[in-house]
Symmetry: C2
Amino acid sequence: MTCSEFDLIRHFFTEQSIRRTDVPLGIGDDAALLSPPADSLLAVSVDTLIAGIHFPLDTIARAVGYKALAVNLSDLAAMGAEPAWATLALTLPRADTSWLSDFAQGFFELASTHNVQLVGGDTTRGPLSITVQVTGFVSQEQALLRNGAQPGDGIFLTGTVGDAGLGLRLYQQPSDTHCDATMHLIHRLEFPTPRIAVGLALRGRASSAIDISDGLAADLGHVLTASGVGADIHVDQLPLSSAYRLLAPENNWQTAVSAGDDYELCFTLPAGLETEVLARLDCPCTRIGEITASPGLRWRDANDQQLALDNAGFDHFTSRKPQ
Amino acid sequence: MTCSEFDLIRHFFTEQSIRRTDVPLGIGDDAALLSPPADSLLAVSVDTLIAGIHFPLDTIARAVGYKALAVNLSDLAAMGAEPAWATLALTLPRADTSWLSDFAQGFFELASTHNVQLVGGDTTRGPLSITVQVTGFVSQEQALLRNGAQPGDGIFLTGTVGDAGLGLRLYQQPSDTHCDATMHLIHRLEFPTPRIAVGLALRGRASSAIDISDGLAADLGHVLTASGVGADIHVDQLPLSSAYRLLAPENNWQTAVSAGDDYELCFTLPAGLETEVLARLDCPCTRIGEITASPGLRWRDANDQQLALDNAGFDHFTSRKPQ
């Protein structure tokens, strides 16, 4: 790329509407200068999306820009943190202004929603990949961790699960039937909603929280391991969208529990707090099971019979992540 | 990759010797939790290295790990910031334990030198690339920016320039002569020294600072533009290593001023501070010219004749960076 092409790229990422007062120096010097809050910890998360691994190669640019930020904001939601700053490391095969404009639109529409300022970045030439790091604020006492689930706690999910996994399958194998339902599922894949407000409402309340990026089975498994507990999950209580029910084979629990990319929150609440906390949440939440002292993750049907589901399986093409 | 391969990767990056007291929660949850200092700003920089673009494909893994952190620490040095935390987003074509072990060794040997803790990361499968973000601490009053150079200020360089650019050429076109000099230049390419101590000593003193990642001409050009000034540079005063003098064609100023990757600091000092400040620095520094009110970057030879050098040229294969 020539310098002028990089100037063009820079143009898309310096013309942002969010200007926070805690950013004394943004993009343009060797480093950004940020003014941290006096009474909070910083919650920091970084995620990379690789074209052809984390999203299909022909995904629209607006969705790529949106999702690169969304998956990171989802991690902040799972910590109960209030988003503040982001950096963007963008590797591009070429300077395509139309693609860049759409990418920036998707990124900044979500950034604006959550008052996030882009404070730094790097643009390089290479196979398309995007690494975003976000920083949010949360107090040490109120941060939502994975290791606090206790036997007897209820297990909850925001929204619905399985949509993104089924959406990916339909994206790859399009059909002419049920267009509205198909579009709904693909939209859920491309534009996941980070549950920031839920995370904030759960602070100091939930005994554990995690976001569903790698699938319910894998991610809930992390909570159980960190907390040293087990869980019974009632598959008939899993929140499934009407589009999922319409287009998934009947009783297709496997996709719902193992497909990732939904970016819903899975959290646990002590029994005494359930009513109070659920009343404060701004999105549908469903109780799907209970934490048990007995270790292991058990799936139970409506007759309380145990089902054999693959807890480690993944049936979409996202790589596993170490964090 | 299978989960067990990712467990293996994680193993290399959680077994680190640096444990800072301002990291209440490191790698392992949805986000790290960090405790920022009460009296400092955060200086944040992010850089991506792409295999085949920023380093030759067959570069030894230890050098890749070292350099991925070094180029970011160099940005903190140029701000006068004290390094603290890093994250690592690593994209790998496969889980090669020997490569990973060497990569981690290079990364952590530099991290240990500067008391930097790795606090988060993401590992994905794809073409080899590494994105590191570092955070350091500096007060608002003492941060070194690009926009404070004044006419009459002296212009200084740490270390020597041109070594990495010439080293890359020799790496790509090896010869059997002058092995020691060749090895020195390639070592400078692979293991650049971030000038952290110099940056700290310049705080509140230097009128501007930048690190030489894209070449002296381009990077000093950023300072001149940001400060609204010009410069006269005396090419016969440019600090060149004996290896460079031995292996570069005579009077090869072009490589010295346009090849990047040296990661030396270029800074300006008001005339009255030169003696005091230079006495406090822990590495060789050379006065190469003066800031002028007249705009533009002029290269002058020993007879004070102006030389025509290409200020925008780059003769190595690093892409330009927007920041």
